[in-house]
């Protein structure tokens, strides 16, 4: 058992070290990706001028803290596995990974984690600029909220990664699956609370959205970080339940899909 744990640690640390070194090579590109995640701050500018916010019982400060938190959550839950998996599948780059005693899933997951680690200084810099130029957006979360939000962000990333991974498996049948990523962006934009807090939607839409994983991917961790009133236990339970179900589906999708791999281009 100890040997197995040590081996997992060795694989994880080696993968993360190499992927982090690689991401450092691409730091300029990552800075641009970080900047491209400004949507929550743009939405903050729009919603802060809207009267709708008051009518649903949110204060200006609450909405500001929510969108600042959403900006941070979005930065650390970015997922692009469909694009890279499709490329690797079509170009045959998946072949060497399939011949090693480590499921390729972990390589893609580690590259995402390494990218997020590389983003930290850029996100810190952008938040500092925001606080400097928009002083009323400044807030420091309570330590408890910060820790809980960190865990929620990690779980939200895992769930989002699994959703994209499952759809990436369609490459085995259809070769091209990245277009689905565009399609998945629509429910993510509206149901996650990215373009508007879920409170502004009608009760019906909100009830439907809560049946999907999307509110837990952004709205829930953002509310935890901003200290808003939120069902902490319910939120974490939903993230864990979605994570478990998606993990089971991902294993099934992988096993079925990999049988169809034709090692194109290799």
């Amino acid at each position: 058992m100890t040997k197995k744990i040590f081996r997992i640690y060795r694989v994880a640390s080696s993968l993360l070290t190499a992927q982090y070194a690689l991401m450092i090579e691409y730091r300029a590109e990552i800075a641009l990706w970080a900047i491209s995640g400004l949507l929550p701050l743009i939405m903050l500018a729009l919603w802060s001028k809207s009267d709708v916010i008051g009518s649903v019982g949110l204060t200006s400060q609450e909405i500001t803290h929510y969108f600042v938190s959403a900006f941070i959550v979005r930065q650390f839950t970015a997922v692009w596995v469909m694009v890279s998996f499709e490329e690797d599948n079509i170009e045959g780059k998946l072949s060497p990974f399939l011949l090693q005693p480590l499921p390729p899933f972990w390589r893609y997951a580690s590259s995402h984690v390494a990218e997020q680690l590389t983003r930290i200084p850029f996100v810190f810099f952008m938040i500092s600029i925001l606080f400097l130029f928009v002083p009323n957006s400044f807030f420091i979360p309570k330590l408890k909220d910060f820790i809980l939000a960190g865990i929620a962000i990690f779980l939200a990333f895992c769930v989002r990664f699994l959703i994209h991974w499952i759809f990436a498996m369609l490459c085995f049948w259809n070769e091209r699956a990245a277009a689905i990523e565009r399609l998945l962006l629509i429910p993510y934009l509206f149901l996650s609370g990215l373009v508007a807090p879920l409170e502004v939607f009608s009760d019906g839409v909100r009830s439907i959205s809560m049946l999907t994983p999307y509110p837990y991917l952004l709205s829930f961790p953002s509310k935890v970080m901003s200290g808003a009133e939120v069902n902490i236990i319910g939120g974490f339970a939903a993230l864990l339940a979605w994570g478990f179900c998606l993990f089971v589906v991902s294993i099934f999708a992988w096993r079925q899909g990999v049988k169809r791999y034709s090692a194109m281009g290799a």
């Binding site: 070194a21 060497p96 399939l98 011949l99 090693q100 005693p101 480590l102």
Partner: protein, 334 residues
């Protein structure tokens, strides 16, 4: 105690088949629209009932023209592609299951593909591979040093892969692929695009690796130099079917029923005097080059030596490169 060599099949392939469905489309807008509405698919039989066995420690050349089914067969042997039918066993494992023990024992090196991380030095990729294969840091370091010495790699290991020459990159790819010391190597054109010196270095390394670790090697290459210098046995495949499995020398005999004879005479003779022995390829009064049927060679040479004042005599096979090249060009399968 018996000293007889016990042969043990490390690779066993029985009636292996693989077919793909491929869409077919004619050029032009009408064909494009027609294809959009009604996609035409046809089945390509990439590998047809291929069977062979390879013993432990053998180096076998797998040759054939482009699209013959070599790479598809290799992909099935290493478990990347699932066969349509037939049985494959490698080191006692079914490759398509790709279980951990099987993956620890094999490697696939593709000349046109790479596993090294492009923007990092090879060492970074080596240490990832070492962890994945369960090697300790110390083991990994020792093996990297050993293989790097065999491959003549040194400073290249700390330069980004993108900055390495093709030859250096190929050697680093080999190191990455062999770090876990596999006992079965599938090599798909490992010397593709390399210059003569680099090709020779890679061949020397593969010979050393085979000797040192008793590894079994199945090698595809379009460079006959790789085959002639490494493989005593070859498998010839064309249009998905295996049509020769045996020693390289026997193949030469099969492909060429003649032997090339070069005779240097002490004094000039008439061309017509030699016509009875075979096909004259070159004649210059004192120099004769001719092709003589293999089964008539002894009698013909005896008669020539008795009838003419011979200064020098040379008998050789036509170059294998030429024979196989002609075979693939003509498309005629024996």
């Amino acid at each position: 105690m018996s000293t007889e060599k016990v042969s043990m099949n490390i690779i066993s392939v029985d009636e292996l088949c693989k077919s793909y469905r491929v869409s077919v489309k004619k050029p032009g807008i009408a064909a494009t629209l027609s294809n959009f509405l009604n996609r035409q698919l046809h089945v390509v039989e990439a590998v047809k009932r291929v069977s062979f066995n390879i013993d432990q420690g053998e180096i076998v050349g797998f040759i054939g023209p482009n699209g013959a089914g070599k790479t598809t067969t290799l992909k099935m042997l290493c478990g990347l592609v699932h066969p349509t039918s037939g049985e494959v066993s490698v080191s006692g494992h079914r490759p398509k299951e790709r279980n951990r023990d099987f993956l620890q024992e094999i490697t696939l090196v593709m000349g046109q593909k790479q596993q090294l991380i492009w923007d990092l030095p090879p060492l970074d990729s080596f240490f990832v591979n070492a962890a994945v294969y369960g090697l300790t840091k110390c083991e990994a370091k020792n093996r990297i040093d050993e293989l790097a010495a065999m491959l003549d790699l040194d400073k290249e290991l700390t330069r980004p892969v993108r900055k390495l020459s093709l030859g250096q990159r190929m050697k680093a790819e080999l190191l990455a692929a062999l770090l876990h010391r596999p006992s079965v190597l599938f090599l798909d054109e490992p010397t593709l695009g390399l210059d003569v010196n680099a090709q020779s270095r890679v061949r020397k390394f593969l010979r050393q690796y085979n000797k040192r670790y008793g590894a079994t090697i199945l090698l595809t290459s379009h460079y006959m130099g790789d085959i002639t210098s490494l493989c005593s046995r070859v498998l010839l495949i064309n249009e998905g079917s295996l049509f020769y499995d045996g020693p390289l020398e026997e193949l030469t005999g099969k492909l060429s029923p003649y032997r090339s004879v070069r005779i240097e005479l002490k004094e000039p003779h008439q061309k017509s005097s030699f016509m009875q022995y075979g096909i004259l390829e070159e004649f210059d009064e004192r120099l004769v080059r001719m092709l003589i049927p293999r089964d008539e060679l002894t009698a013909a040479i005896t008669s020539i030596l008795n009838s003419f004042p011979v200064k020098d005599l040379e008998i050789c096979d036509p170059p294998i490169e030429e024979l196989i090249g002609n075979l693939f060009q003509s498309g005629i399968v024996p």
